[in-house]
Symmetry: C2
Subunit: 321 residues, 2 copies
């Protein structure tokens, strides 16, 4: 059964099952934000053939993930942005562009994936819009709320420690494995990192619990090197990074040639890089445990050093080029 | 100059001019909602070739509007949804899918159109996302706040008067004029209705000023007949509509054959249909003046009558068919 068989009204009826019953049937959704709290809002767009290949209409030679994975990942990207601000999620809206020949089951599975991640991390689907489009596109907007802490890129200080919440390069390695159809059970953690990234909302909770009052930071969706550079530029500081970065054993074993490059420039690992006062950094590292690790120190200047070598900022993905 | 010449980073730099300076440079935007108020959120997606033809890459034979019109219209559709809930706007996020061959100037003009309508009705651009896509798509999410009144479709009562806030069929007539390249100055009001619809946020303000406590309703983006039917179905009531509906003189003069059809099924006029207690309806009609008008009465049953004939619910646009 394709979308053209049931039409817009038929599709909307099926999608209503994924929204709270009291929100169905009006032009927009309403919600009560926690009184007196600041809110955070973010939007991410995914396009088939650019960000993923999944549906039977994909222009890519290899399907990189299931519809449920696409749904999970689309929400995860937004929730990672919320985590990068220090926010906890309230809900999302979903704007879909869909070709009429798309199977209805694909769209329902997409929503199943969104429901799974919302069940894990909180938040509801408030509503959205579905329209005809020659290509599958998914635009998700997430809203979250801030408690005592607002993480910003621009507030790193000289003397801060840089902390990173997990390994890097796994998502890129997972994509490589999928594209080359390497399918061994031992490779699963890499593929899962690509298809089901975890937004680090647990880190926000940890910062709150520890009573940490200032944190600079951002997520590593565009790569670890990019995140460090963005924080340094926004805060007008430099950084000196350790040269013995922990590498995930699977990455080292299966992709020894590319491990270093992907660690810094792979992107889409959705971890957080934070700049914190050294004592706060130590307490956070203890609380999070492995694989969170010390990344380096914030220093005066405008350069990011990997030991005695400058770390190149670019190498990540740029749209339109 | 095309997007491929300046890349994602270059485009983002230019678009920052349209956002409040304090929000630039983080993973998401933050805002302070009015304390203790409910919020409303809505998302609308527009796709080139489906909703408009405007850019040099449009697949449509006739360009129906400028980039600035597209920007205005995309925000207007969302703001109309806010008005349909009784909300006043706070801000928007913008998710864009853009082909690399698109001129940079087109995107900047799109943002100019958004800036114009935000200046007129309030709200800021909080941020968003720009990604590569084979087709231009624009997904806007708007957030507004509710004061004392929450308009819902499902709360019309038998005995209510149905009120409509303006003429209908103008947008559809404007599209016809554009597609047939009828270009006379006297046709301008129709073309403007299509390209620069006004979200009826003024009606929300009028309802507040009059202290009206209950209003059922929705906007007429999918046509006047559809709006009446949706309200009746959601409220489990019927309606008896007047047979002498006011028709805009230009519509009657230029499109006498189609006027009746477009009035009920043309769509995209972005007016409001409201069901109110008769005294509240009278006071609202007095306050709004022409062209707001009485539309009919809410009656028991499950049928919408135009005089003694049933009014067909369908006839409007449905995606995927």
């Amino acid at each position: 059964m394709r979308l053209s068989d049931i039409g817009e009204a038929g599709l909307l009826q099926r999608l209503h099952a994924f929204c709270p019953a009291e929100l169905i049937g009006d032009d927009a959704a309403w919600f009560c934000p926690p009184a007196g709290k600041e809110l955070v809002i973010t939007t991410d767009v995914l396009v088939e053939g650019v960000h993923f290949g999944s549906s039977p209409l994909s222009p890519l030679p290899v399907l990189t993930m299931s519809a449920a994975d696409v749904g999970w990942r689309a929400v995860a990207a937004n929730y990672s942005d919320l985590a990068a601000m220090g926010a906890q999620p309230l809900g999302i809206t979903v704007g879909l562009g869909l070709p009429p020949a798309l199977p209805v089951a694909w769209v329902e599975e997409l929503y199943e994936g969104m429901r799974e991640i919302l069940k894990t991390y909180g938040g509801v689907i408030w509503g959205g819009d579905v329209v005809r489009s020659p290509v599958v596109s998914i635009s998700i907007t997430a809203v979250g709320w801030l408690d005592q802490l607002r993480i910003q890129r621009s507030i790193a200080q000289v003397g801060d420690w840089l902390v990173v919440t997990g390994y890097h390069g796994l998502s890129r390695a997972g994509l490589e494995a999928i594209q080359n159809q390497i399918d061994a059970p031992e490779i699963t953690p890499l593929i899962t990192a690509h298809r089901r990234p975890w937004p680090r909302l647990d880190v926000v909770a940890a910062l709150q619990e520890l009573g940490i009052k200032r944190a600079a930071g951002m997520d590593t969706s565009d790569g670890l090197a990019d995140a460090v550079w963005q924080i340094c530029r926004a805060s007008q500081v430099g950084a000196k990074l350790r040269t013995d970065m922990p590498v995930h054993p699977l990455l080292e074993k299966r992709f020894p040639q590319q491990a270093e490059q992907w660690l810094w420039y792979g992107g889409e690992d959705f971890e957080l890089v934070l700049a914190l006062a050294p004592d706060a950094a130590q307490r956070l590292l203890e609380k999070l445990g492995t694989p969170a690790h010390f990344l380096g120190e914030v220093i005066p200047g405008d350069q990011v050093w990997l030991g005695h070598e400058p770390l190149a900022p670019a190498g990540g993905f740029q749209h339109f080029r």
